[in-house]
């Protein structure tokens, strides 16, 4: 039993998902109860994950440590927030299908498998499981052209990314003779040939697709805009965390001794993501597209920590992603609350005059925008500060300066949203905010504001998780 304890969350999600599938078929109008059960399952899985010990499972296919538990917990948080938001939104949009929470459960299962992977094979299986479930989620509003387009686009580009990843893995396997992370680390200690490097680069590109780091971000704005907002809220939180955690565990795990080969590439990814995130978002008039480009930028900052290749750097990345998940979930709760006459509205200009009619809503949205812009004393400022500080200390002056400049440019479009809400004349006449969206907004805003008072626990856990990863 103790051997299988770390496996319980995965078993829970898999078997629970299948059970809910049967329950949903047996009962008409099962969406609400199935969603609530899925949320309960995720909470239970989170508790099991947090209390699980370190373990190597199935002869080295999976490995759990504080690092995987940290990332898993963030994924559960993101998925729970997305499911809470979907409760009301999916019903109002007429896409309340009980399969959606079940697909989310399977996607989360795939994510925790790929994060815990200690072997290229389990990595790939987990990767595919989560991707496939998410492609379907993107096309959930199957009668909307934009949603099906988003699903198809995500599917085609995701399949391409999977192909690149798989090709990279096959090259690495071909040159090293093993797929086990520990064994790969041992082989690469003696250096690597050109073929291995090509393989590593392909693996890196496949992962960069998934976190939508520039220049592999082109799918993100279209998919974010086209998918139903409740699904976009999921995309912006859980899979991003999973893919970034996978990025960290692969680069700091089997490829740790090849730093010379991949460091430059990560720097390029980080710089391009920050620049594109800052510049491309300026011209957007759709709030979901704006948040998509903003997430590209955030991935750039999160990658800066990895560039340093130190424990402090990984710690900075982990802190960044944790705060990003909270901000992102909160911002999308605000987007979901933008409804007029029973229709979802997505234009930034629709927000004009919001502060007069819905002061609480406007304040929460403003808090997330300020935080994403990195304005003190909110959580987002702190996340950026940690990343810049570690990068600067590790001697990456140019990278730090680019990061600061792009975050100043990026502040423009975040502040523009606030300006529209508070100073532009207009009457949004939004429908009453649903309880779920209000809850996510309130909790997110509270966490972002209060974080500055008690940064200690998150810092400590992230530091210990980074140490667990680097060994």
């Amino acid at each position: 039993m103790t051997d299988f304890y770390p496996l319980l969350p995965a078993l829970f999600l898999g078997i629970g998902g299948m059970g809910l599938l049967l329950a949903g078929l047996a009962k008409a109008n099962a969406t609400q109860p199935v969603t609530l059960s899925a949320i309960t399952l995720l909470i239970a899985a989170a508790f099991l994950t947090v209390t699980a010990p370190d373990a190597v499972l199935f002869g080295g296919l999976l490995k759990t440590s504080l690092f995987t538990r940290y990332a898993d917990t963030l994924i559960y948080l993101g998925a729970i927030a997305a499911l809470i938001l979907s409760l009301d939104y999916n019903k109002r949009e007429g896409i309340a299908r009980f399969e959606y929470p079940i697909l989310v459960l399977f996607a989360v299962l795939g994510m925790i498998v790929m994060i815990s992977a200690a072997d290229m094979m389990s990595l790939y299986i987990g990767f595919e499981l989560q991707s496939l479930a998410l492609y379907i989620c993107a096309a959930l509003a199957r009668d909307s052209v934009r949603s099906t387009e988003a699903g198809l686009k995500y599917f085609v580009l995701g399949a391409l990314a999977s192909g690149l990843l798989l090709y990279g893995i096959s090259l690495v396997y071909g040159f090293a003779g093993t797929t086990n992370f520990a064994a790969l680390g041992g082989v690469f200690r003696q250096g690597a040939g050109l073929g291995t490097v090509v393989g590593v680069v392909f693996v890196l590109i496949g992962l960069a697709f998934k976190i939508s780091a520039a220049p592999f971000h082109m799918w993100a704005p279209d998919v974010y805009e086209g998918a139903p907002s409740s699904v976009t809220a999921l995309f912006a939180t859980a899979p991003k965390t999973a893919a970034l955690a996978l990025f960290l565990s692969v680069m700091a795990g089997p490829f740790a001794h090849l730093t010379g080969q991949w460091e430059m590439l990560i720097q390029i990814l980080a710089v391009l993501s920050m620049i594109i995130g800052a510049l491309a978002a300026i011209g957007q008039s759709n709030i979901k597209r704006l948040l998509a480009y903003s997430s590209v930028g955030h991935m750039g900052y999160a990658l800066m920590g990895l560039v340093t290749g130190t424990v402090a750097g990984i710690q900075a990345s982990l802190i960044y992603i944790a705060i990003y998940v909270v901000m992102s979930a909160g911002a999308f709760a605000c987007v979901i609350a933008m409804r007029r006459n029973g229709q979802a509205v997505e234009r930034i200009s629709d927000l004009a005059g919001l502060a007069g009619e819905h002061p609480g809503f406007a304040f929460a949205f403003a808090v997330f925008m300020w935080s994403m812009a990195g304005i003190p004393p909110l959580g987002g400022f702190f996340a950026k500060l940690v990343v810049f500080y570690t990068a600067f200390n590790a001697g990456y002056d140019a990278l730090t300066i680019i990061g600061i400049i792009t975050s100043v440019i990026g502040a423009f479009y975040y502040l523009r949203v606030i300006k529209v809400m508070y100073f532009d004349k207009g009457r949004p006449q939004f429908d009453k905010t649903s309880a779920g969206a209000g809850f996510v907004m309130a909790v997110g805003a509270f966490a972002v504001i209060v974080f500055v008072a008690v940064p200690g626990p998150l810092m400590a856990v992230a530091g210990a998780a980074a140490k667990a990863l680097m060994g």
Binding site: M18, L61, I125, A133, G177, T178, V187, Q190
Partner: protein, 213 residues
């Protein structure tokens, strides 16, 4: 000697049928050449001693995928001539990309070197005394059992996805409700009409009857 001859023979047929797949104007012929290509690739695997891959290729690709293609080609009215339209225009770009890819592959092949400790690190050396189908089975159902199960979950997700994206409840489907039929009484369906002589029969509205059905 015979083996070399067989290798070159089947590789030649494989390459020739691959060219025919791309250049053939008749889509049905193209699919048939595709099947020929798959069969030859399977034979090549067989020559290399990987009989499991050969069987899988024959069963999955020839048996399922290619036949599915054939169905699609014959059932759907796709204008294949229009698909070829852009060929002339995009050929130079495509050739350039192909050339770059080829150069990259040549670079890799040029420096092909297996890591010195590679074979020692191999997780599962090929066992000498059993065929590779047996060896694969022994691995898949022992060391990689969890991954095998997870692959099953992936297929389940694919199935859920297909249903979510295509299934629609038909509101007006004509299924039989036996209890409703048994519960019918003569009052719901029978209408007694006393028709006067010479005026024919005027049926009253039967809307009530349709509702109860």
């Amino acid at each position: 000697m015979i083996q070399n001859l067989a290798f070159y023979l089947f590789s030649f047929i494989l390459l020739a049928s691959a060219v025919m797949v791309v250049t053939n104007r008749n889509p049905v012929h193209a699919v048939l050449f595709l099947i020929l290509g798959f069969v030859n690739a399977a034979v090549l695997f067989l020559l290399a001693g990987a009989e499991f891959l050969a069987f899988i290729l024959a069963i999955v690709y020839v048996g399922a995928v290619a036949v599915l293609f054939l169905f699609v080609v014959m059932m759907l009215d796709v204008d294949f001539a229009s698909l070829h339209e852009g060929f002339q225009r995009y050929a130079p770009v495509g050739a350039l990309v192909a050339l770059i890819m080829f150069a990259e592959l040549a670079f890799i092949a040029g420096t092909w070197a297996i890591a010195p400790a590679g074979s020692a690190d191999r997780l599962f050396p090929t066992p000498a005394d059993v065929s590779n189908t047996v060896a694969l089975g022994q691995l898949i159902y022992t060391a990689y059992l969890p991954l095998f199960q997870l692959s099953g979950v992936i297929l389940l997700v694919a199935m859920i996805g297909a249903i979510v994206l295509t299934h629609r409840d038909r509101k007006r489907s004509l299924h039989q409700n036996i209890s409703a039929q048994h519960a019918r009484t003569p009052e719901q369906t029978l209408v007694m009409i006393r028709s006067p002589l010479g005026e024919g029969v005027a049926l009253p509205q039967t809307q009530k009857e349709e509702e109860t059905l």
